[in-house]
Every structure is written in C-alpha cells, then in structure tokens.
C-alpha cells in the first residue's frame, strides 16, 4: 500500500509541482490551499505525511504545526515545512517549532521525492515501499 501524503500549499504552480512529483512516484496525494482546510483534511484522512508551506494565508505554517502536534491523533504524523527562507537561523526556528524537517524553495525536482521518502521511512507510519518512478528511454 502506498503512503498517503497531504500537501498544503496556496500557490497553484508550487502545489501542482509537488503533487505531480509525488504522483509520478506512486504516492497518493490529497491537497488543501490553506491551513484550516489542511487541518480539516488531516483530521478526516489521517495521512502518513504532511507537507506544509510555511507561508500560508490566514493560519500559517507555525500556527498549523502547533495545532497538529497538540492533537494526539495527529501528533505522530511527520510534518515537513516547505520554505523560501533557508538561512542558518531559520532551520533551528522550524525544528524548534515542531516541524520534523524542511525543504527549501525553489523545490529541486530531482531531490524532492528522495527527501520526502527519508521522512516516510523514519516514521513508524511509513512502512510502505517507496514508489518507483516510471522510466522512459532517453
């Protein structure tokens, strides 16, 4: 069974990119455009991993992680922050806030899925096999 991943991102192009990459590697994706929608979806669907843009309108990434980690049913789901900041101090800030990891923007398509899979493997929910990307002759 392939892992189910929730992606919360307000920019359509960014969302499309991440979903496309995850789909291509065989993951089931569900999406939300803002924090509140993402929370509702997380509570209902209990995904195996959550990818969350830090810079969201309304309830932003930091608000989200606080709520996610405070609800016992959701606290064990790994949450990865996607952020345009990627400076030395910010990394600590994200980890202290409760994020399990971070990916910096612009997303590097070649590495994106690999990084996500690391977090899937290390979480106790991620006992699934990593998806295989379709290979086309070059």
């Amino acid at each position: 069974m392939n892992s189910r991943i929730l992606v919360i991102e307000d920019n359509p192009a960014n969302l499309e990119l991440m979903v496309y990459l995850l789909d291509a590697y065989g993951y089931q994706t569900m999406t939300a455009n803002d924090g509140l929608g993402g929370l509702a979806l997380a509570r209902r669907e209990r995904p195996d991993l959550i990818i969350c843009d830090v810079h969201l309108p309304g309830l932003n990434g930091y608000g989200m992680i606080a709520i996610l980690k405070s609800e016992p049913a959701l606290a064990s789901i790994p949450v990865i922050a996607v952020t345009a900041l990627a400076m030395v101090g910010d990394r600590e800030k994200l980890l202290t806030a409760g994020f399990d990891g971070y990916i910096s923007k612009p997303v590097e398509p070649e590495r994106f899925v690999g990084v996500i899979e690391q977090f899937l493997r290390s979480s106790h929910a991620g006992a699934s096999e990593p998806g295989r990307a379709p290979h086309f002759p070059q």
Binding site: N11, A13, N14, E16, L17, Y20, L21, A24, H55, A84, M87, V88, G89, K105, P106, V107, E108, P109, E110, A133, P134, H135, F136, P137, Q138
Partner: protein, 492 residues
C-alpha cells in the same frame, strides 16, 4: 486735632519702633502699606527675620552696631514684603536711650525708594552702556537687585513690544516665563543678582510680549557689578525660527523612519514575490528533464537545460540583489551567538561538494583538532565562505581547493583566520583593483566563460565589514589565488 497722632498714622513711610533685640514694638499704618503686614502680624516679630533678605543680614547687623555707637544711622538697603517681592528702602535709624543711658528703643523710618532707585540706576546705565547695548544683535535687558528693569535696548523693546519708558521699572519676571513650571519662590529668585543660580547661558524661556503673544527665546544672564550695586544683564534671542526648523527636522525624521519601514516591508514582500514564479520554472523544467511526463528529443533536452540554467541564474541574481539591498539600507542586523567554526567550515564545504564533484575538483578542509567556538554571526560567515569557495570552484579547472581554519595567537580579542586557496586561473594585476566592486566580473564580456552575478565579492566584503572582519587576497595569474578572511570575535 491731635497732629502727633495724625502725623504718626498718616505718614506714608514705614515708621517702626524696635526693642534693643530688634523686636517690633510699634508698627504704623505706613509700615503696613510699605511692607504688607498689619500690626497684629508684625508685632513681637524680629524685624530682620520678617523683612530682611538673607543676603543682607550681615549688613543689617553691622548697621545696628554702628547705630549703638553713633546714635543715628542712615543707609540704603533691600527689604522683602509680605507678598514676597523685593523693594529698595532708604533707612533712617535713631537710638532712643533711657534715663540711665541704656538703649531703650530703636526708632526706624524706612522709605520705599524702589522707583527712585530704578530711575537712578537707569540714568547711570543709560550714560554708561546705552550706546554699547544698542550695537548688540540680541535684546538686552538689565535689571537691578530688586528685579526691576533699569535698561532695555531697542532690540528688547521690539522683541517685547514695549516702549522704552514702559519697560523701565517693570519686574523682569513679567517679561520672561520659564516653561519648566518652577514654583513661585524659585521664579522670584530667578532674576535677582543675589541668587547664585541667576546667571547662565542658553537658558530656554518664553518671552511675554505686551500684546499677549509668547515667543520662544534663548537667554543668557550675567552679573554686572556697579557702584549702585549688582545688576543682572539678560541677553535675549528670539529662537522662533530655530524652533520651527527643529520641529520641521523632527517631522522629516519621522517621515524618513516611516519610509524606511515601508521600504523594508516592500523588500521582504518583494523577495517572496520574485522567487515564487521561479519555483514553477525551475520545478517543471526539472520534471521535464527527469522525463516524468515522457521522453525528450535531444533538442528538447538541450533547450530545457538552457531554460533551467537561466532560471537558476536569475534566482541567484535575485538573492544577491536582495541581500545587497538589505545590506545597503543598513538593515542587516547581526545575530551573534557561539558558533563552532569547524562545523561551519565543514558545513559550507558539504554544500559546495556536489558542484565541485561535477568538475572533478576536490575541496579539502583543514581544521584544527580542537574546535574553535567563536561569538559571531554564523549566517554572515557562511555566506562569505560560500562565496569564496564557490569562486574557487568556478575559476579552477583541475586540482584542489584548500580551505584552512586557524585561530591566531593574540592577547586581546580572539581572531580566527579562514583561507581558501585554489589552483585556478588566478587574477591579473590590472583586474585586482576592480575585484571587490559590484557587478564587476573579471572576464566580463560577450565571451564570458564564467557565470556569476558579479556581486559575490562585493557582498562578501560588506558582510565582512559588518562583522569587523577583513577580507583580503593574493593571486598569481595562471597559478591560483588565496582569499583570506580575518575574523575577530564579536565583543560581548
């Protein structure tokens, strides 16, 4: 008609009978009018305690002993009335002896000569100082011991809106208000020469004009000694214009601060806005090149790489420009903390590793056994080091890049040195001066082989300056370059 009674009660001057100790035994209506106290209040009091200002006590004692010797004594002095104001008095004392020759009473007649004194002082000053004071640019007001104006030059007349004769005899207190709201007693003492705090320069007051208007003025007060006694000279300057300019400057400052804040918000927002579209460009050229949607022809592959390459270049340009804007606007604040320099160096090398691998270059760290922990801003140091090693990789075709970290021996502030040595193309002598300039690329031109924004070293030097560090280099064209960052520890 009892003329004795008439004279005693109706005489306008103060007539007082004192005991030998100086206590008031009889107090006329004239004394009431001159000094303000009625006979109930005055009776039994020590005269010198009631009426004589502190600074004149010694004087009074001398005159009393003179009276006891000579039997009569006449002199001029200063008295304080019940209302607190000072007046000049002409004193005539006579000793009244008992039959056995001992002193029975002192008869004291005291005439208020304040106005007379003002006129006398004015006459003296007029003759002596008028011409000189007319030459002064400021308004000059001279006042005597009782705080009354005895001379005012035309500038002062204009400033206060009074005629010369109107100012004469006016208490200076009526002209100048101290806006720091001193209690009345202190204000009273302000313009009296006897007050040690009277003099001063650049004092802020408000001038009270005849027409009721108040204007801000700056006052300098000095003491002048004359044969008629001490006087105070106040030089008064209208600073309305200056205050107006100060206010305008203050408001401009506030405006500037607001504009700066707006600019910072703009920069922060713009940073996010500018980078967002690049996500899509870099991302999807990436997925296409990964052949996830399908196979690519050779031309499609080549063209996509070109797009992606340009997008990445654009991204680094934007990052550099925004860094630059932040540094130039002085908005970069250092975040100083204890930093492991060895970890920092290794971390930066790890970041560069993929790029170096692509060119088959080795970036070799050389850090000491014992970790060097320094108080500094790790982001700034990382950025500089990243730039230096990036350059080294960029301009080197083969060989190694050595990154060396050492702490210098020093007695004062601790100092660390990080150096990057490469075996690249080196820098020509004529290019050395332009090296740290913004947008200067050593091989600029249409045949440019090496990509870059031309801002790296410029930014690095700015950052180094913020850290109090020094960025220097040595290079031989064709052989390689050595860039050195001398970093002092940040003070506590």
């Amino acid at each position: 008609m009892d003329f004795n009674e008439l004279v005693l009660q109706e005489i306008p001057d103060a007539v007082v009978v004192l005991t030998p100790e100086g206590r008031i035994a009889h107090w006329t209506r004239g004394a009431e009018q001159v000094f303000g106290y009625d006979s109930m209040e005055a009776g039994g009091q020590l005269l010198h305690e009631l009426l004589v200002p502190q600074e004149h006590h010694a004087e009074e004692a001398r005159y009393l002993s003179l009276l006891k010797q000579a039997g009569i004594c006449s002199y001029e002095s200063v008295r304080r009335t019940k209302s607190g104001s000072l007046i000049h008095v002409d004193v005539s004392n006579k000793a009244i002896h008992a039959q056995d020759g001992s002193l029975d009473y002192v008869l004291s007649s005291q005439k208020d000569v304040t106005e007379l004194k003002v006129r006398r002082d004015a006459k003296l000053l007029e003759a002596r100082f008028r011409d000189l004071l007319e030459c002064m640019p400021d308004g000059i007001v001279m006042s005597n011991a009782t705080g009354h104006i005895v001379l005012a030059n035309s500038q002062a007349q204009r400033l206060f809106g009074y005629e010369a004769h109107e100012l004469l005899g006016l208490p200076v207190d009526c002209l100048l208000r101290d806006r720091t709201q001193e209690p009345r007693e202190q204000r009273e003492g302000r313009f009296k020469p006897a007050d040690s705090n009277a003099t001063g320069a650049g004092l802020a007051f408000h001038a009270l004009r005849k027409d009721g208007r108040e204007i801000p003025v700056e006052v300098s007060i000095g003491r002048v000694q004359t044969e008629e006694g001490p006087l105070l000279m106040s030089a008064i300057r209208d600073i309305t214009e200056r205050r107006r300019i100060e206010l305008a400057l203050h408001e401009k400052n506030i405006e500037l601060k607001k504009a700066n804040l707006a600019k910072d918000h703009f920069l922060a927002g713009m940073s996010h806005e500018l980078r967002t579209p690049l996500n899509a460009i870099i991302g999807f050229t990436g997925t296409l090149l990964m052949r996830l949607p399908g196979p690519l022809t050779q031309d499609q592959d080549k063209q996509l790489r070109t797009i992606q390459h340009s997008a990445k270049h654009l991204l680094s340009l934007i990052n550099d420009l925004l860094d630059l804007a932040r540094i130039e606007s002085g908005k970069v604040r250092l975040h100083v903390e204890a930093v492991s320099l060895s970890s920092l160096v290794n971390g930066v090398i790890d970041t560069i590793a993929p790029l170096a691998r692509q060119k088959d270059l080795l970036v070799q760290p050389d850090v000491p056994e014992r970790d060097i922990v320094f108080r500094t801003d790790s982001r700034a140091v990382s950025q500089i080091l990243l730039n230096l090693i990036n350059n080294a990789v960029k301009f080197t075709e083969r060989g190694r890049i050595h990154v060396r970290l050492r702490e210098l021996e020093s007695t004062g502030t601790r100092k660390a040195v990080i150096s990057v040595r490469d075996s690249g193309i080196g820098i020509r002598d004529e290019d050395k001066t332009r090296l740290f300039e913004a947008f200067s690329q050593v091989d600029a031109g249409s045949t440019r082989r090496y990509e870059g924004t031309g801002l790296g070293l410029y930014l690095s030097r700015k950052l180094a300056a913020l850290l109090g560090a020094e960025l220097s280099f040595a290079s031989t064209y064709g052989e390689g370059s050595l860039f050195t960052l001398a970093l002092p520890e940040h003070p506590q």
